[in-house]
């Protein structure tokens, strides 16, 4: 039960991810928050690699770090986000939010440690490479996959329809 190399690497990556996630929610500069989000999500991708989930890790890098953060930065530009520190990014209910988050952490952490405190993850044998995931995806999860592609199309059309200026208005 002594910590292995994978344990140490995972713990370091997890600490990086948690620290930068914390900076995302407390940062007073909106662009810095987006860049810390990149660090946090990148560290999570590294955690996926340690857990041998290669395909999910690269999907995380491509979609989250590549697309979602760029979309968020575009959204900031289009809504004229303040450059430089500003105090009105955070509301007035800080104490209540801190209490709720702390209570949630305590309950979930106690539950997880109590339930899985001694369980070990076997990361030597299983390698969920892209071919393995692809086979599972197109053999067992074809229907959800296709439904999801229709959902993406609907979201795309919906986003265009929502933001299109009405004629004559």
């Amino acid at each position: 039960m002594s910590p292995t190399g994978a344990d140490i690497v995972f713990a370091l990556l997890g600490l990086v991810s948690l620290a930068s996630a914390f900076l995302v929610v407390i940062s007073r500069q909106i662009v810095h928050a987006a860049l810390w989000l990149v660090v946090s999500l990148g560290a999570v991708a590294g955690c996926y690699l340690v857990m041998t989930a290669e395909f999910v890790a690269w999907m995380q890098v491509l979609i989250y770090l590549g697309a979602v953060v760029v979309l968020l930065l575009f959204g900031m530009m289009l809504t004229r986000a303040p450059i430089g520190p500003s105090d009105d990014l955070t509301g007035t209910n800080r104490v209540a939010a801190l209490f709720a988050a702390t209570a949630l952490t305590a309950v979930l952490a106690v539950l997880v440690v109590d339930a899985y405190g001694n369980s070990m993850l076997d990361i030597d044998g299983s390698h969920a490479s892209a071919s393995v995931i692809g086979e599972a995806m197109f053999r067992f999860w074809v229907l959800p996959f296709e439904a999801l592609s229709v959902l993406l199309l609907a979201a795309l059309v919906g986003a265009i329809a929502v933001t299109k200026p009405h004629e004559g208005a």
């Binding site: 995972f10 929610v25 999910v56 599972a136 993406l152």
Partner: protein, 104 residues
């Protein structure tokens, strides 16, 4: 490797996301906190997939589905935010308090 490490990372990301979602008033920062919460869920999905050595790889498939839905949600959410900005000139969520237009 201990299973409890990824689960604790998942708990931490989810709680930090909850705090951000409750405390931020800029809607784009709220979307970012939502991304953190979704990532927390994804970490535990992948961890349990590896833990149970699932032959169908349900956890990792679901994690990829969650990533896709998050991308769709961000696209649509930003569209709605742009509409809000065009109508009100701000995206602070506590200033969007009107449910109807002004009566003329």
């Amino acid at each position: 490797m201990h299973l409890v490490l990824p689960l604790l990372l998942s708990v931490g990301l989810f709680s930090i996301g909850t705090y951000g979602l409750l405390v931020r008033r800029n809607a784009i920062l709220m979307l970012m906190s939502l991304e953190l919460m979704l990532n927390g869920v994804n970490v535990s999905l992948v961890a349990f997939d590896v833990y149970w050595k699932d032959l169908l790889h349900a956890g990792q498939s679901l994690a990829i589905f969650v990533i896709t839905i998050a991308a769709a949600e961000i696209g649509l959410g930003l569209g709605i935010l742009l509409l809000l900005f065009r109508a009100k000139g701000t995206i602070a969520v506590d200033e969007a308090t009107e449910l109807r237009e002004e009566l003329s």
